[in-house]
């Protein structure tokens, strides 16, 4: 018997529903209704009054966690390196952004924090302040028992200097409070439909990665010791319960063989028409559980 996954859902899945047809409580209801045990949020989207929510909001947050029996998993945050038009943030300011979000994540009960750093190249190299900024808050993260997880997200694959630099940082510092977050989008092997406003010219150049960067899921086995959290990104599960873009059987098989026992947190990023996301997430939760069972019972190699 191999290790078992934990199942979670990110409220990001309900983008455009949230705040229009869905409030916080409806979000909790949708997540818990999938059978998930974990809830992931975006701090600066789902926390009213971010980064200093009112005591009333905090009461609601803890009441909902209790009522729906969900544990906070990962909180997403941003280090807005281009906050100012005329200059980028300094290392100190970057550390300040991380400190702000570590503190909030801890208050809300989260165990993982995903900061998204601004980038400085077309290849999406993070602003070089990331390293100094993270190093300055490692002690705080340790004290608060939070793992800071930069996300490995398309168009950045596993075999890339950005990912390798994060791994080198983990090796150099020996920290347990910095680890990789893998986004399933890197495994996408079929093109996404065009987004609204997206043109064929854009797809050829700026958004070419939306055709899929096709990372081989077997690469997970080489880096799994550095992986703390997984965002199970997906775009459409059809009526025959097939993911039309992510090769889920291969990904689930690789994760099982790698012995991953952390969260798979659903992250729907598809058509944003009202009321679509809730069932899409349910379909993906069903599919991932089915594939895990297939592996455990020898039907998936």
């Amino acid at each position: 018997m191999t290790a078992s996954f934990k199942y979670g859902v990110s409220l990001y899945s309900y983008t455009d529903d949230f705040g229009t047809i869905m409030g916080l409580e409806e979000g909790f209801d949708a997540v818990a209704g999938t059978g998930a045990t974990g809830i992931e949020i975006l701090g600066e989207a789902h926390v009213k009054g971010y980064p200093e929510p009112s005591s009333q909001w905090l009461d609601t947050w803890f009441r909902l966690l209790d009522q729906y029996q969900l544990e906070p998993t990962n909180m997403c945050s941003w280090v807005d390196t281009r906050l100012h038009l005329e200059r980028n943030l300094t290392v100190e300011e970057g550390a300040g952004e991380l400190e702000r979000d570590l503190t909030l994540a801890h208050r809300l009960g989260f165990k993982f924090l995903r900061p998204k750093f601004g980038v400085v190249t077309s290849d999406l190299d993070p602003d070089p302040i990331w390293e100094g900024a993270v190093e300055r808050v490692l002690d705080l993260a340790h004290k608060l028992d939070i793992v800071i997880c930069p996300e490995i997200h398309a168009p950045t694959p596993i075999s890339h200097r950005v990912t390798q630099n994060y791994i080198q940082f983990i090796e150099r510092t020996g920290t347990k409070n910095f680890a990789l977050l893998i986004d399933f989008g890197i495994f996408q092997d079929r093109p996404l439909p065009f987004w609204p406003q997206e043109t064929p010219e854009m797809r050829e150049f700026d958004t070419a990665f939306l055709n899929g960067i096709k990372v081989n899921p077997e690469e997970l086995l080489d880096i799994i010791q550095y992986v703390a959290f997984i965002q199970a990104k997906f775009h459409h599960i059809n009526d025959d319960l097939e993911d039309e873009h992510i090769p889920l059987p291969k990904v689930i098989s690789a994760l099982k063989r790698a012995g991953y026992s952390g969260y798979l947190s659903s992250e729907y990023e598809g058509v944003r028409d009202p009321w679509v996301a809730i069932d899409q997430v349910r379909r993906q939760q069903l599919l991932m559980r089915k594939l895990e069972k297939d592996f455990d019972e020898g039907r998936l190699a």
């Binding site: 705040g19 989207a45 100012h84 077309s122």
Partner: protein, 135 residues
């Protein structure tokens, strides 16, 4: 308050200024992002109505009772636009707009720090038919 899903809201499209001497019009919008953000990341908002263009340099941005010029927006690195809060774009146009159905374009010029440098600022083009009820 729950907002309409369309980023340009139907409610809030109206003329402003004295009734017999309108000074311009207003458009209510949601955040051009899936998260809240500090408004120094918003480098102005372009507007067009029935093909008539109103450049981002002259339009004003109002949030929670506070109004910002482009220069003030650029300095407002401590003001957060929350996901659930509507904002208002204030467009000076003597006389305002005629009551009726108008083709409205809104382009929020946003710096998304995690997008490549060449895409800064990035504009999501929004178009919608909107109705002005009162002169």
């Amino acid at each position: 308050m729950l907002l309409e899903q369309a980023p340009i809201q139907s409610t809030g499209f109206r003329n402003y200024g004295p009734v017999d001497a309108r000074e311009g019009f207003e458009i209510r919008i949601r955040t051009p992002n899936y998260r809240g953000f500090r408004i120094s990341l918003l480098d102005g908002v372009d507007v067009a109505v029935d093909g008539e263009r109103f450049g981002y340099e002259n339009n004003l941005f109002a949030l929670n009772g506070q109004t910002f010029s482009l220069e003030e927006l650029r300095a407002a690195s401590d003001v957060r636009w929350e996901l659930g809060d509507p904002a208002t774009i204030i467009v000076p146009r003597p006389g305002g707009l005629e009551p009726g159905i108008h083709q409205v374009y809104v382009g929020c010029r946003v710096r998304y720090p995690y997008f490549p440098p060449k895409l800064q600022p990035h504009t999501m083009p929004w178009n919608r038919l909107l109705t002005i009820v009162l002169p």
